[in-house]
Symmetry: C2
């Protein structure tokens, strides 16, 4: 239970009079409400899906009113473990409640209420964001016309959970973690968070993509017989880990990975995903990437199969891409053209519509 909470969000474009052109973009593990564009005072801080979202882009902010929201429990402005609990005057820390994908969708629905948006033209996300797009279609079928589910799985596999668990163990066994209440000690469990990010990063990239990007290239041209950086890939991972541990909150990392682990809409329906998706009335676009081994195409096909079993309206595309899970964030002409074409149909359907 939380007495109250803030949600940090950003909007792009203009909500039309009918309020029928709103698109909610849900973020994955490490991203935020800042989905596109940049701030005048900080031009280098470009939104995480800026190649997808903006004026004239596949999700065209000249047509759509796009909302990015930092999820509850996050560390980019929404209430999370690092926020001050007004009851105690201290950071929530370990007392912050667990959050689930369902909670996030609830909170996003309340945000939509505040903005006067009864029905989204689309809810869209990749990875964990796609799970939210799926949950929207289940929980609020009347409030979502299209669900765009990119690089997703209907639930984590044992291997997925295992990687999350190692990341969490890295954080919680860091001596600076202090049971989650490190804020009071003026330290941060940076070592653990850094390792968590390094592990995560490996799973976002394919073996082929890493081979192409780094191969066995050596930093100094030769092997130095030490445990410092020899290979470029080591330098890259350390840099990613260092950077991440400077800006991300470790408790948020724990919460989000746990929400990922727990998401399993079919569980309440005896494991039958089609039954779980039965309430959905949205149209679906499901996209997967061939080299994604974190959420492989087979996992997306489970979703497609369940939707087809329900005779839902679903487009499915399997993009031949070498970049692994990260492909959902990268430019690929076919992927971009597909999303663009899909949104053109959504625009034709939703944006011109008058209020009922």
């Amino acid at each position: 239970m939380l007495d109250d909470y803030h949600l940090m969000y950003e909007t792009y474009g203009t909500l039309n009079a009918a309020k029928s052109n709103a698109v909610l973009v849900c973020h994955a593990l490490n991203a935020s409400h800042h989905v596109a564009g940049f701030y005048a005072e900080d031009p280098k801080n470009v939104g995480w899906w800026d190649n997808m979202i903006g004026p004239g882009k596949p999700l065209d902010t000249e047509k759509f009113f796009v909302i990015g929201v930092n999820n509850l429990g996050g560390c980019f402005g929404s209430t999370g473990p690092a926020s001050i609990n007004r009851r105690t005057g201290k950071a929530y820390g370990s007392s912050f409640p667990m959050v689930t994908v369902e909670d996030w969708v609830e909170a996003q629905a309340r945000l939509a209420d505040r903005l006067g948006i009864e029905r989204f033209a689309a809810v869209m996300g990749g990875s964990l964001g796609a799970m939210q797009a799926l949950q929207w279609a289940i929980a609020y079928p009347q409030r979502i016309a299209n669900s765009i589910v990119v690089a997703a799985a209907p639930k984590l596999s044992a291997q997925n959970i295992a990687f999350n668990e190692v990341a969490r163990q890295a954080i919680t066994t860091d001596p600076d973690f202090h049971g989650g209440d490190y804020y009071a000690y003026n330290v941060l469990p940076r070592r653990g968070l850094r390792l968590a990010r390094m592990i995560g990063h490996i799973t976002y990239l394919s073996d082929d993509a890493m081979m192409e990007k780094f191969g066995r290239s050596l930093r100094s041209g030769s092997i130095n017989f030490h445990f410092d950086v020899d290979f470029e890939v080591e330098s890259y991972l350390r840099h990613q880990g260092d950077k991440f541990s400077e800006y991300f909150d470790a408790n948020t990392y724990l919460l989000i990975t746990r929400a990922l682990d727990y998401f399993d809409p079919a569980d309440a329906c005896g494991g039958e995903l089609a039954r779980a998706l039965a309430p959905a009335t949205a149209r679906f676009l499901v996209v997967s990437f061939t080299s994604d081994w974190r959420f492989a195409p087979e996992r997306s096909r489970e979703i497609v199969k369940a939707l087809l079993d329900n005779r839902a309206d679903v487009c499915y595309a399997e993009i031949n891409a070498s970049h692994g899970h990260d492909a959902f964030l990268l430019d690929d002409a076919r992927y971009m053209a597909l999303v663009r074409a899909y949104f053109e149909n959504v625009a034709a359907e939703c944006c011109a519509k008058k209020t009922a």
Copy 2:
């Protein structure tokens, strides 16, 4: 440089008069010289390849004289970082020299000299052990009749190195690591070693095998909304990590993963593996496992291709097995029958042979 060193080894079976029936079994990351059987005083401590090696087993110790050796730098009796440096009276710790696959083969060759074995009937290994079997064929073509290369790669990929690097970072950033000289502080970097083992374990198993073994099974039957163990796979990984961190030396883990990273016999030949393997005159058996994503069948085929380019005598088998990299240690009727048949041929060739 080391002034001297010990190698711990075990032998099984009887060296024949011609000394032509010796088989060297090389270990991978976490194993030892104790490849088969058990000790009278410790019947539960069964050798790591006991299903493969023993009387009447595929590598039949009634025919062959089998040698298991703990590699230089190890922590099971051979000289390693935890050993006392006689010059200082203290553990080597961070001053222990880096060791390579080439060094191990050198040291094993010296052991063979001591045992009076001029030529091995076979050198055999899985994973990192297979790299040693490969290096034997390159470095000592006259001293090895057969090279048995199981679940191998001719060099690590960027992803392989990346996983090793995260494991090493977990160890070296553990506050109890003390730059590798933790022995002097009466502590062990257990947290780091535990994480390293957890990461490793995920890569030894396939996604399918983990799904089959653990699925999303819950320890207590329901989700508890905490960061303690909820899923069986979490319990398994923690247990594996805890156990390992009790008996394995962290510095040895660092050394061995670095030896893995560095091994790349083709590097000195302009990246041409066939040229690197050109000196080899041994017969080869190369075995891979379909679900092994750590060293996938494609990696074994690189070795086979290079051997065929050299018109070497090579048998290759790709075993349809679901257990991932670990499959090389597990019973599989086809795999076992294959190795048995191969060794029957080796026995016919080597064991009956008279001294020249």
